[in-house]
Symmetry: D2
Subunit: 385 residues, 4 copies
């Protein structure tokens, strides 16, 4: 059995997230990059492909061409899935083209430019019967898995309060005017959609809260802001949450919390216990108890759940990082493809990867937050689609 | 010149906060406890006084009697101010009696049972021309002073976002039925007022946010909750804030965040820099910058502001704690009394103590938060009185 | 029963440690400063006494005069014990004078200028039958008590390894030439004895190691250094330790670890568990286990030992600091005096204070470390006196 | 230009370090595993190769056969270097065979079973003119690079004191009897050499100290211990160090510090500043100053040195871990091979990888530590070879 063959759309020279996807895919030796449409600029795509040691014939400058040409290759040679790492506005058309051409899709988040596209995408996924994965990377960390396992096991009791935060500071001034491409597209509604802060990072926080608790957000009260003059989209937001079990929550996201890096953090409090996890120190999970000392759980320790263990590569004390979390999503998606192609259910290895349901919820959350913020009405219900 | 003479109302055997007030008052050797009405139970008050080495004649079981008898003593012998450490419902009547009898008042917070009383109290303070202090203890920490000094100096630039949290976990179950007196009165509206969580700790958080930033809360959107069945008052709350300069904020307070102790924490982000301080590790203040390493400021260091230095007792590396912060308020209040009695302005030693204005804002905040939480309207303006 | 009456020798205007002793003595309202010989400069002593609200007649400029005059006062008025807060060279003569005059003695550390004096002091203590206490302040912290209790209970199993460190940075350059009085006397052999770094802080570390583990150091291999040119005494030292049960250890002390404040830290590893405590975050004690998550114990928590609880003043989450630890020694010494004067054994309140035995071991350690460092022989046995 | 082709010796099913090497090699897409002798058990080697998607013809059960067969392949097909991931006793014979057959070698540490072999190895490396790399993984971390850059730039001034520790707890009981293969070979002198604790982890600590400071250890005073009964080799050690510039140091290594994971940590203090780095939180580097706040440097920040930046893959706040550090060594070694094969000096990308000099120093350190511990003489000079 050979490695799984991956194609990539986007991620050419100078791109940020594409390189991370490639490292995540490569880490475990299960997946091989075989082709790509790295840029619509032919020279740039060609140079990118060459730097990745790809044969020129598998480097494209048009994703539609890639779908067509790869489809024409022998089954044992052509790519098996496409990783989409473009700005948001291309996620949907590329995913649609890939699925229509018979390729599974693993897409960067947010899933699409808007909710409408996400709903269409779901239809296409259902029609084609192919696999769709969405890289909410942070759910790939071993101790996020552990947190989910503990909550699911009832260790915390019924959950009462959830605080999830994602402060960044990199957009505290007009980076978009300073030649920062990452900033420029994220603040451009044509490329990013109707939200910058919530669309780029708030949606990660919402996904993490639902993933860890197993609950669903049922209504929100939002206050989004644009602090830096000249911007069209929000660069900060604070959102009160209510969950389907009656739990309350707060979601804080910001791109202008100057001096913060990527400080995603979640705290969950139930009737019997609480937990806390921070992305910047991802190998520690705190469990808090009413009458016993707080416990510090550590990645790689023998006392962790099978779910955490299945998503860990190194023994305790050898820190795992963002790329390993990312690679866990790739591994899980690869498992699903292997199973799908073999016509069997995915092996139960304890790995998972967000899919089209998370895509819908994410796009719903973004649109709901923007609408709620603009409204004088306090609470806005989370619609089901 | 002798030590300043203090009387105390409340704080008898088994009480919690009274003992802390006494230690705070004693620490610097500037203040002497000379009398007290420690309990309305004569035996309990007497035993309490004896344990404090007070002569029986200066131990009372009725605060009104104390005001009267002390007034009758020679000027050089009678108490000079009263510390009020009873549950909330007595704050106003005791303060009124003390002021009317000519004694300065240093009161535990919240100032009164409700806003109406606080407004009356302000009138009495104005009428009598006497001093009133309110022990928002957390503003007494050296590095809270430093944070305020930095914000005031403009180091952060214009402030954009404030996150202040005060999670506790001690009321996550029905402590009030388990013989916990501290729990019982805080959850009894007759003794505590209309709020437990916001009245007891949320008001500290709001005060801290205003103290550090120098801004004022201008409107709120609140979601208070009672998680533990059988309670009348809130035991949790999340509040969106807007400040008078346009800054946004979040205030999170909870008595049911199980496993948390007293985790008051504030983060402030401005255009040019941010800061973070946590009460449980109070000797560290973090300053965050867009393009330079985060700085860890430490109590007692030579690079701190005069304001911080004036509120510090030990050299760097000798941790100062809650009682020292508390004692700073006592020292500041003592300075004011000395100055007042000498007919001169307070010596400029860089110490300060909250007063009647903070009392009014605190009671306003509590009532506003409760009303806003009950309302379907999103934003509620902070009224000025 | 009145407060316990304390006299003080040393600690006049501008002194460092004397002020801390006074705050520690005052905190709990059990002890009253009634007299002092704060300086041999009469004006300075007088001004110091006045600032402390002492009557002029109880302020002395000669400690021998103080002993004589206080002895002549009525029993219910004269001081009951003397706190000695002078530089090291005066500890012995003052302690001797106090004991000979019938006063208990609480002395700052190190006990004396050299071991010979410490042995003499022990004879005098034994002769007079009076109490002698030594302020190894760090053993007063609640969680140091807890650490000792856990080790004594066997929770760690037989102890194998002890690492104790005390890095400071304040003497990394020639502070002694820059008008820093604290630096000047600590580096002057006539005032400080044969060691600066080990005599001032290494001895604290050794004491802490023995206190927490309940073991005794049995031999040492030392490497002391003088880094800053022009100094006679050591300003840094690293010492390998062996303990009487076979455990091994390392003691690191430094006054030139630039940027460090007062970073005393101890780690103990036994067959079954380990512990870690740091003075700069004294309200956390870490317990480490082979197969369970590390536990974070916190001052004030309900699960702590009675020993820790007896040395705690505030509920969990209200940080206690250096002065509270210091005050615990004063409380313990006060208990012993009360009991001694009442002719009964000390009340079993779980408090303790180092005494003459620790004084002997401390002075032995200092002299042994200096001798061992100068020797080519590897191991030097800890002598018993 | 194709990817660089790697062969592997060792690292079959169930092995620990081989898998980590493979992930480190794969991460950046620069290196391709093309063959391996994963085990001398043919079935095990075959299964291992199959799981790695290798063609059966490139899977060997004898490393000598691998060297021979690969040599016979066309230049553009055969492996270009060998990664050695066997237990210590095979490092030398495999490396010798590889070099003699014309292949570069990247070896796990310690370099050889003993110093004598290391010296022989150096001769062979010199003779063959081929490249030799040694995976002292911890020097691959971005902030270890930064620490080295800062020390080299003189930011700390002349270095005075170095404290390096490597506590682990996993061998606190007889894991070697419990079927733990990793434990068994590390404690077997035939497979591991004359030391377990110093040979396995102490040598990493020594290497890190020299790497960061740019200094060389010039003499040692050692106390190694075997705590767990029945063992032949040391499982704990404490070593006093002196460096060639006069700096002093302490190296603490332990396999019985129960509850510790892999807590490698280094602190360096110079005349003007200090630094601290911990492997378990590798994305933070502390810089300490005499008169300014401590600075927290973070991986990925814009203010870091080019050396750190060249060894970083993700933006600030996306934690990098052990595998990324490991991959940095592979990238650096790949650079050297590319340059060597092209007959040019290595591109100056700021990457580096330890080589034969570090191999000699490492083996010297291990043998010196064991000898010094057994001796009654205090100091033992570090010999030059």
């Amino acid at each position: 059995m050979p490695k799984l063959r991956m194609g990539m759309v986007g991620g050419g020279e100078g791109a940020f997230i594409g390189r991370l996807h490639r490292m995540a895919a490569a880490l475990d030796g299960e997946i091989e990059l075989v082709c790509g449409a790295f840029s619509s600029d032919p020279d740039r795509s060609r140079r990118s492909g060459a730097a990745l040691y790809l044969p020129p014939g598998r480097v494209y400058d048009d994703y539609r061409r890639m779908m067509a040409d790869e489809s024409a290759l022998p089954a044992g040679e052509r790519m098996q899935f496409v990783a989409i790492v473009t700005p948001n506005h291309s996620h949907f058309p590329v995913a649609e083209a890939a699925l229509r051409a018979g390729f599974h899709v693993l897409s960067d988040k947010p899933a699409t430019l808007n909710l409408q596209e996400a709903l269409q995408l779901r239809d296409i996924v259902r029609e084609t019967g192919l696999l769709y994965g969405l890289t909410h990377t942070y759910t790939g960390y071993p101790l996020v898995k552990e947190a989910r396992a503990r909550a699911a096991a009832g260790d915390l009791g019924s959950i009462r309060k959830v605080i999830v935060e994602y402060p960044q500071g990199w957009l505290a001034d007009r980076q978009e005017d300073a030649g920062n491409k990452q900033a420029a597209w994220r603040l451009d509604p044509k490329l990013a959609g109707i939200s910058s802060c919530i669309g780029d990072i708030g949606v990660h926080a919402a996904n993490l809260a639902e993933y860890v608790t197993g609950l669903q957000i049922s209504s929100v009260c939002a206050d989004l802001t644009t602090f830096v003059p000249g911007r069209v989209l929000d660069d900060d937001g604070s959102i009160l949450l209510r969950f389907d079990n009656g739990a309350r929550g707060v979601l804080i996201a910001s791109q202008v919390s100057v001096g913060e890096e990527n400080a995603l953090r979640i705290r969950v409090y139930g009737e019997n216990g609480g937990l806390e996890w921070s992305q910047q120190e991802p190998n520690t999970l705190w469990l808090k108890w009413p009458d016993r000392p707080t416990q510090m759980l550590r990645t790689g320790a023998g006392y962790l759940s099978p779910l955490a263990a299945a998503n860990t590569r190194t023994p305790g004390g050898h820190p795992e990082g963002y790329l390993e979390a990312f690679a866990n999503l790739y591994l899980a998606f690869a498992d699903r493809i292997r199973a799908c192609e073999a016509g069997r259910p995915p092996a139960e290895r304890g790995r998972d990867c967000p899919g089209i349901d998370e895509a819908i919820r994410g796009m719903t959350f973004i649109e709901l937050a923007v609408a709620a913020s603009a409204s004088d009405v306090k609470w806005h219900q989370f619609p089901e689609y």
